[in-house]
Amino acid sequence: MIEGLVAKFLVQNVEQYFVLAFILLGIGLFGMMVRKNLITILMSLELALNSVNIAFVGIDKMNSLIDGQIFALFTIALAAAEAAVGLGIIISLFRLRKAENVNEIIDLKG
């Protein structure tokens, strides 16, 4: 019975992976634009980066390859490195000015 349920809810079309990936990328971009808190912006960024992994999984299912999954491992590691650097920068910003919102860091005018 459980196997039947899993088969029923498993993704049938490969396109659904891409739709999910694009929705996550869109949520990530939208969050980066509307959110004010610096850490939330970093979280949105991670969401956008991780949407790539879902696209890779979909591609691999479509072509029955493993190259995409290896690529996804690299993306996960790089996203972690970027998050670490980003958190470090946020901590040093906070130490210097107690700033935790984007509308407090507007000294440089784009």
Partner: protein
Amino acid sequence: MKALYPDIIVIVGIIALILIELVLPSFDLIGFLGFLISLVSGFLAIKYSLEGYTFSKWLLDISAFSLLLKGIIYILSAFVIFTSVSFFKSKKTFLENVYTFLLIALGLSIMISSKNLVVILSGLELASISMYIAVGMLKDDYVSKEASFKYLVLGSMATAFFGLGSAFYIGATSHLDIISVSVNHNTAFALASLFLFVAFALKVSAAPFHFWTPDAYEGAPTSTTAFISTVPKIGFYAVIFLLASYVFPIINNFSYIVGIVGVLSMFWGNLVAYAQNSAKRMLAYSSIGHAGYFLIGFSKYNVLSVSSTMFYVIVYAFATAGAFLVLSILEKNENWTHDMNNYKALYKKNPFLATALGLFLFALIGIPPFATFVGKLGIFLGLVNSNAWFFAILFIIGSIIAAGYYLKLIVYMFFKEPVTEEDQSLPLSLFDTIGVSVFLISVFFFGVFPNVLFDIILKDMFHG
């Protein structure tokens, strides 16, 4: 195997520098060793490139052309490190600056030594993450951290786009290498090339994606600006050349997308540069304008325009690094902001620096004795050869518009009266003089004898 030696030297050198720094934390020593490592591997790479060594095993594919670019990247890094050590000593920065530069150069070098998307991503991110860190390296300086955060957020978006582009590339072609493929009107392939192009347009600060550029360049320590505005460009344009030779020509009319992004960024950068009061921001907008020229050069795949764009990127890197390094030497003085008024009568205060900055600015305009003129001429002739008259004429108009703001700074330096009457001459150390002279001589040399570099580029660029 010999083609790998330059990178191995740099990897071992970086680890050695980290260990030496624990025992002997001295800026002079670390700076000198970093300069030496970078210079030795740079000359070795150029020597092997001329002797025709190649290496293609595992995921790597090092051609003579990528060895040449590696050599130029390392030599340029060596002289930027050489000139910036005294700047870092005068500011409150970290000792890690030197090998952060080497890490950026190493990442770029890995990026251009493969056609595999995984290796390109790894090198790109090694360079990019090191760049985010390098921008925020000024101790107790708020603006530097803010610039670093903005650069990180927008730069990581480029990574996400690169990943999506690679996903669609694998989907359309079933392999990870950028080699010539045959796909007909494949939507996945079109999306792949669009995403990959957007990722690199963001990295080279072309116009709709340029918003991080003025902030990151202004907030960074000025020597770091000299580094991140020039050396990474060589690597990024090498990858754009790879895309322009294998990916873009497959899609109908993709050259118009590249060309229109180029035209947009040329006009945006060159027009907004007039509104800037700070010389550092003005040079940042000038680099957006130059991204426009280079993308127009890559829009049509034509032997003349593509090879002269690569030549132009290299000599532009020398000229811009020189200009930013002169700004960094000036910034060592007390109370120096990069406001235009500070540059009034600079010629009376320090004739050498004023002349050097003036010559670099003339080089960026593209006045004939300088090497950049050869690049501009080549791009124009290449566009005319491939009947792209529209882009050729816009390219000339954009270049003429650009001349004005460089001349404004030159007029401020040479013909304006100083704000205060007191005579304050600015000091200049021997190392700074040598460093700036190296950049000045190379810009002159490649302008008078462009064939020295241009022949090698033409010989190697299209065989690999």
